[in-house]
């Protein structure tokens, strides 16, 4: 009787796992389907920075995107951007055969249920693991944690307005890891500065780059030469 109960429980848990796994996959497909509807877009951009060791005022610019993964930020001055392409993820989920989807459970926040999904690419040139926090109700990604082969881990938070037509974020906040850098004295404007004593291993500190999007223009033509500049 006990054996029978144990076997039953195992079967039940396997079925449950399969079901939730399918749900997670479905959620990812829904996000991809929504994103696929936007063949291209442009938007005005305002980038603000909170990066250790770097003093820079907000920068204006324009962002261009074309499926599947052409992405270009044009700024009206110097700007620092994350090295990682934020559309690695969209590129990955565009082919359901290219990743393994693992359901990581859910978190409840006021007014929504956030599903945690992990995507393990089967063969991606850069991405090792993608962890997604998805608002199951609105089919919107709230946060991603992308682990890459050469550029470390990057966290991206997505903020949306209540526009039901444009399912694109109004803000993306990139959490980046910045290591301490040293510029040779003869190249820096700091001949008289005292060099601070540092530990042998350079420590990484967290920085943030916030991209605020406005004036989205969906599926309207623009000069694609911008991607080659």
């Amino acid at each position: 009787m006990n054996k029978l109960l144990a076997v039953g429980l195992i079967c039940l848990s396997l079925v449950a796992t399969t079901l939730t796994g399918q749900k997670a996959e479905q959620l990812v497909r829904n996000i991809q389907a929504d994103f696929k509807k936007i063949e291209r877009y442009t938007a005005d951009l305002n980038i603000s920075f909170d990066i250790p060791y770097i003093k820079i005022d907000p920068v204006k610019g324009k962002v261009y995107f074309k499926q599947p993964n052409l992405f270009k930020v044009k700024t009206e001055g110097i700007a620092f951007m994350p090295k990682q392409n934020p559309f690695y993820l969209m590129e990955l989920i565009s082919d359901p055969e290219s990743y393994v989807c693992i359901d990581g459970g859910s978190e409840t926040t006021p007014g929504s249920i956030i599903r945690i999904i992990q995507l393990v690419p089967k063969d991606h040139e850069e991405l090792i693991l993608a962890k997604l926090w998805v608002d199951a109700k609105g089919n919107r990604i709230q946060k991603t944690l992308l682990t890459t082969k050469t550029n470390g881990t990057i966290e991206i938070k997505y903020i949306y307005d209540n526009n039901p037509v444009i399912k694109l974020p109004t803000s993306m906040i990139f959490g980046i890891e910045v290591g301490k850098f040293k510029i040779p004295k003869m190249m820096s404007a700091d001949l008289n500065s005292r060099t601070k004593q540092t530990t042998s291993t350079p420590s990484l500190t967290q920085g943030k780059i916030r991209l605020n999007f406005s004036n989205y223009k969906l599926n309207q033509d623009f000069n694609e030469k911008v991607f080659n500049q």
């Binding site: 005022d57 290591g179 004295k185």
Partner: protein, 280 residues
């Protein structure tokens, strides 16, 4: 009378071939740097930012006229005072060595006026050098590389200044550079009063500037106590104009110290020269 004295001193400066070494040197340095950066600036920028680019990518036109001008000014930190000393270092001792000082002092002018006329003429020379540097380094670079935001590299910090917030800083930096070089010119004038040897004050001024600059750039804790007493520590304060925000407290203090140095060196020059026995 003072005006005539200054004109005579300017004429003397203009007649000496060595006065043109400074102009030629600036012309060459600026041209070489601008040409090199125009040809291979991209790899230079890549080299400087290679550490940072392992974390972030940089968008926008980094190599622009403002950055090139800043690099040129940075390079000329040590050279400019030496070029000034070359001319102002023997304004009195040179005349003593040539035997024209006594003749000069037979004119109905006070010795103080002579010293002041020589200092003003030296300052005019400094101004001309800086105007040439400004025209070539700032004007030439903007013409060749265009405008853009300015990235200032500090040893452990990077400051990005908007292009519309840069030009006034350069003007102020040139103003402070003029004050700094005036300190050198007054210092060399003071040394020039002490001796009848033409070349001595020039060499001594150069040696002092080189030694002070080396001490200033060393990271030894012992030197931290000495640095505030070296006038060269305040001569590079022009770079603080490119801080964000500008520390006006440091700027005011440094400018005041530079002015006090000029007054001190000129005061000592006038005091000593008024009591000096003129033998030649």
């Amino acid at each position: 009378m003072m005006y005539a004295l200054i004109r005579t001193e300017l004429y003397k400066i203009a007649k000496r071939p060595r006065s043109y070494i400074g102009f030629v040197a600036i012309l060459l340095i600026v041209f070489i740097i601008e040409f090199a950066l125009f040809i291979d600036g991209a790899s230079y920028i890549e080299f400087i930012f290679q550490q940072l680019e392992s974390f972030l990518s940089i968008e926008g036109k980094v190599l622009n006229g403002y950055l090139v001008c800043f690099i040129i000014l940075q390079t000329l930190i040590i050279q400019m005072p030496l070029l000034v000393a070359l001319v102002t270092g023997d304004v009195i001792s040179g005349e003593a060595a040539n035997g024209t000082l006594r003749l000069l002092l037979t004119r109905p002018v006070s010795r103080t006026e002579v010293v002041m006329a020589k200092y003003i003429a030296g300052s005019f020379y400094v101004l001309l050098l800086l105007l040439l540097l400004g025209a070539l380094a700032l004007g030439g670079s903007l013409l060749l590389f265009g405008e853009g935001d300015l990235i200032i590299l500090k040893s452990e910090t990077i400051i990005v200044l908007k292009s519309n917030d840069v030009l006034w800083r350069f003007y102020a930096a040139f103003g402070i550079a003029f004050l700094s070089l005036s300190v050198v010119s007054s210092f060399s004038l003071m040394l020039s009063c002490f001796t009848d040897n033409s070349i001595g004050p020039i060499i001594l001024t150069m040696a002092v500037i080189v030694i002070f600059t080396i001490i200033g750039s060393f990271d030894l804790p012992l030197f931290d106590h000495i640095k505030p007493f070296l006038f060269t520590s305040y001569m590079i304060v022009w770079r603080n104009m490119f801080d964000q925000p500008v520390d006006w407290g440091i700027m005011q203090t440094s400018i005041l110290i530079l002015i006090l140095h000029i007054i001190l060196f000129l005061g000592v020059s006038i005091y000593y020269f008024n009591r000096k026995d003129i033998h030649t």
